[in-house]
Amino acid sequence: MEVERRTLAAKQRSARDMLRGDLEGEDLDRYVEERVVTTTFEKMLNLARSNSIFPLTFGLACCAIEAPISIVTARYDLARFGAEALRASPRQADLIILSGRVSIKMAPVVRRLYDQMLEPKWAISMGACSSSGGMFSNYAVVQGADKFMPIDLHVPGCPPRPEAVMYGFTKLQRKIQGNPDQGWRQRYNAAGTEEWARGGPASTPSPEAAEAYLAARELSLA
């Protein structure tokens, strides 16, 4: 049924009639069409999840000044995206932001915190150090946090601005809603041009990575 657009005043009038019990027949159908959105339970659940994330109060290094500290202050205010309640216990949190370099002594601790979080849970690797080791290419620092735990999102920068972290956070929300951004590859229709760092330019991805990229490509072309 095609719903014709009505003015706000007309909608308010029909709402008043509805409350009074005067709305019947075609008018009632139109009223329902205008106000009810049908969707799947999955989507509704994911929408709720993505807008009520509890990040873990957790800082590793200098990036901690930008992420868990700055973005909850009044100037940046992560509460706008529904994540103002930082939890001090991993058992109550569902987002961990790795803010800084992970030393090999800290890695088991971080992994344990991640394991203690309840499903569903997400992880953001913030800054160059936790994503790749950054400037610390040495004996003491893990070269990329995804060596010991799954990471959903990498935010580049050294350190990233709080705005960058929040931009990454909104990307994570879209991922939770089941509609992840494919980035510049989607904009330039360039899915399938990925390079594989493991074996150099001419190498092929692992079977799991190839499968994941095929899925991502279908999403981006859809």
Binding site: I104, K105, G133, S137, Y139, A140, Q143, G200
Partner: protein, 172 residues
């Protein structure tokens, strides 16, 4: 900081009380250093701490440096401070690297300066210098199961090679 003649006076007095303990002196950029025999380093530290007129009673730092390829290889440095006169003096003990897997050894000075406890553990942690007589010589900063002495000059830097334009062909 004692000046160069003052440093020689100190050396002479130690030589009188503890013959053969001081091997050499060094006065560079206004910093005085005594290079001592590692076996007698505790004697020299005790002398500098307790002798009236010296009284270097505060160990402001203890650290090790690796002078590879020089021989002897390891230098154990004690930075002493007299807080009344605000004078500093450095004591260096040079240790050779023993053959095989053996670690260089020197006497611990925790009895003299309790602050040396953690600093000797740190030196052991990163250089593998064993401080004989230390109450609890274990790793302090690195993980307990770490293998190797990472601040030694012959220890690999670690990390992962990164492909840049200039070294692309090495990893292609």
């Amino acid at each position: 900081m004692p000046d160069a003649p003052g440093l020689e006076l100190i050396r002479g007095e130690i030589e009188r009380d503890r013959p053969g303990a001081v091997l050499a002196t060094s006065f560079d950029r206004g910093q005085a250093a005594l290079i001592v025999d590692p076996v007698q380093v505790i004697d020299v530290l005790t002398w500098l701490r307790d002798t009236p007129g010296q009284r270097y009673r505060f160990l402001s730092s203890l650290h090790v440096a690796d002078y590879l390829p020089a021989e002897p290889r390891f230098g154990v440095h004690y930075e002493l401070l007299n807080r009344d006169r605000v004078e500093r003096i450095r004591v260096k003990a040079m240790l050779a690297d023993p053959e095989g897997d053996a670690l260089p050894e020197i006497d611990s000075c925790v009895e003299l300066f309790p602050t040396a406890d953690f600093q000797e553990r740190e030196a052991f942690d990163f250089f593998g210098v064993v401080f004989v007589g230390h109450p609890d010589l274990t790793r302090i900063l690195l993980p307990e199961d770490y293998v190797g002495w990472p601040q030694r000059r012959d220890f690999p830097v670690g990390g992962e090679p990164v492909t840049f334009t200039y070294n692309e062909r090495n990893y292609g």
